[in-house]
């Protein structure tokens, strides 16, 4: 591991400045988000309290973002997993109680880092099928609003008329569906199944 991310943020600058940094955002979307399925698997495997996992995931994102704002790392995957690993180590140290089975694999993490990137062309080819599958996993109303928006190209008002619900209700279904889709699409690409 050549890069060691810093654990603590330095508090310099504001994230707002980064909103105007398309390069950083493009890097984050292209290199970091697609790692989420692997990262979730890694976190589940190495952290016993699964109710924390999503918080830890977003903590990793924040740290990766803050480091990348100073300089975009050359090797996104190694950098993200090193960040995750340091974050877990620090949490263990902070808690002063070591959940033994949680750390057992912490040194075997390099394995996760070595997993090859899926071939991009194949990914693109399967994309439509993957998205359709993700939509099937939404609750019925969420699925319906997404289909009406994306397939039929209807506006919020038109969807409301079609479904016989208020526009505000359409917004609620739609934003919840967006939220769920992010976790389905990035979080569990092949759905490894939850560990108990």
């Amino acid at each position: 591991m050549s890069e060691t991310p810093e654990i603590f943020c330095d508090g310099s600058g504001s994230p707002l400045a980064a909103a105007g940094m398309p390069e950083l955002k493009a890097w984050f979307v292209r290199e970091v988000l697609p790692l989420e399925a692997n990262l979730m698997q890694f976190l589940r495997h190495n952290w016993r309290d699964h109710s924390d996992i999503e918080d830890i995931l977003h903590d990793v994102y924040v740290r990766v973002y803050e480091a990348a704002r100073r300089q975009i790392p050359d090797h996104a995957k190694a950098f993200v997993f090193t960040t995750a690993r340091n974050l877990l180590s620090n949490r263990i140290r902070e808690r002063a109680v070591i959940p033994i089975d949680a750390v057992s694999d912490l040194d075997a993490l390099n394995v996760a880092i070595e997993t090859p990137d899926p071939e991009r062309g194949a990914v693109a080819r399967d994309e439509l099928r993957r998205i359709s599958t993700a939509i099937d996993r939404l609750p019925p109303r969420g699925r319906q609003v997404v289909m009406l928006r994306r397939v039929d190209g209807l506006s919020r008002g038109e969807i409301a008329v079609r479904m016989g619900i208020s526009e505000d209700a359409v917004s609620v279904h739609l934003s919840r569906a967006m939220d769920a889709l992010a976790s389905i699409l990035f979080g569990d690409a092949t759905d490894k199944g939850e560990r108990p």
Binding site: P15, V29, L33, V62, A124, R125, D179, L181, A182
Partner: protein
């Protein structure tokens, strides 16, 4: 985000709440009444913390990916939404512009032969004609097609692209004239494209005879899966599976399908359908390959994918989107 050594205090109990808020912002942003004030509010929220910003990027990137669901759009749904959009956006102005365009371009022909009807689409347009005999013709973006209005089964593709589903009548074959070429249907579904540089006919079903307009002696019989492509005086015939031709007819469903096309080719396709043009500035970018399905009017989505997947640089200059490496 204030720096602190106490990791426990940094653990945000509100991850779920932040994700939900990011999704709500994204949903609001898609409403038609989104304006500068709303954008300023969103910017302020994004500026509050890196957690807000990254959560927003995440949900936005996922939602962008669902854009390609438009590929599932049926031609029927597309037609109604198209008609509605055109009516809502342009109303009378569109009708007036279309009429002027028809007069300007079709006027000569109308004077010469009153037994013709002229059908035209603007950039991004798409319409379906049903002829008296039940044959259907779908015309694509930026197209001028004349159809004989008497018993003669004949059409002239002056510009653009059209998909023909012809009811076969052995005694009265349907003839399409495109430039200096004549295409005679022998029971058929086929598509013809004709523009300044380019003539192409591809057959999906039945048989088609391709000949020079005034000379039947040299003709060519095309079978399903065949495409004849002409540039100047040269003509090449490509043989492929019919299923491969289906990609080229994505426009009937309102989509463009790219399967390993270059970015340059893809940009040219988009430019046929949109008045805002994509310019690929250098050959390094133009030669990148792209796979995917996009709405024909989805320039922004396409450019976004190019930026994120291919890592190209994108700049907007007025009506032009310039892509470079």
């Amino acid at each position: 985000m204030s720096g602190t050594a106490n990791l426990e205090s940094r653990v945000t109990p509100g991850t779920k709440a932040i994700r939900a808020a990011a999704s709500e912002w994204l949903e609001r942003q898609e409403r038609p009444d989104w304006g500068a004030r709303e954008q300023a509010e969103l910017d302020a929220w994004l500026g509050e913390s890196a957690a807000h910003l990254t959560a927003y990027w995440r949900v936005e990137a996922a939602w962008r990916r669902t854009e390609r669901l438009a590929a599932l759009r049926s031609s029927e749904a597309h037609e109604t939404s198209m008609r509605r959009r055109i009516r809502a956006l342009l109303g009378k102005a569109a009708a007036a512009v279309a009429a002027v365009a028809m007069l300007a371009i079709g006027g000569n022909f109308l004077l010469r032969n009153s037994h013709e009807k002229v059908y035209a689409t603007q950039i991004g347009g798409h319409r379906t004609l049903v002829l008296k005999d039940g044959s259907r013709i779908e015309i694509n973006t930026d197209t001028i097609l004349r159809v004989s209005d008497n018993d003669e089964r004949r059409a002239w593709l002056d510009k653009g692209e059209a998909y023909f589903q012809i009811i076969h009548d052995a005694k009265r074959p349907f003839v399409v004239v495109a430039g200096n070429r004549r295409i005679t249907d022998l029971g058929t579904k086929f598509v013809i494209r004709q523009d300044d540089m380019h003539f192409k006919v591809a057959v999906l079903e039945g048989l088609v005879r391709l000949a020079a307009k005034k000379d039947d002696a040299q003709s060519l019989l095309l079978e399903p899966g065949d495409s004849a492509i002409a540039k100047g005086n040269s003509l090449a015939v490509n043989k492929a599976a019919v299923s491969q031709l289906a990609n080229e007819l994505g426009w009937r469903r309102g989509v463009l399908v790219f399967d390993n096309e270059t970015l340059g080719e893809a940009a040219n396709e988009f430019n046929r359908y949109n008045s805002g043009k994509i310019v690929v500035a250098d050959s390094a970018a133009a030669n990148l390959r792209i796979v995917g399905t996009f709405p024909t009017n989805g320039v922004d989505g396409f450019v976004d994918v190019a930026q994120h997947i291919l890592g190209v640089r994108v700049e907007k200059h007025g009506n032009e989107t310039v892509i470079s490496r």
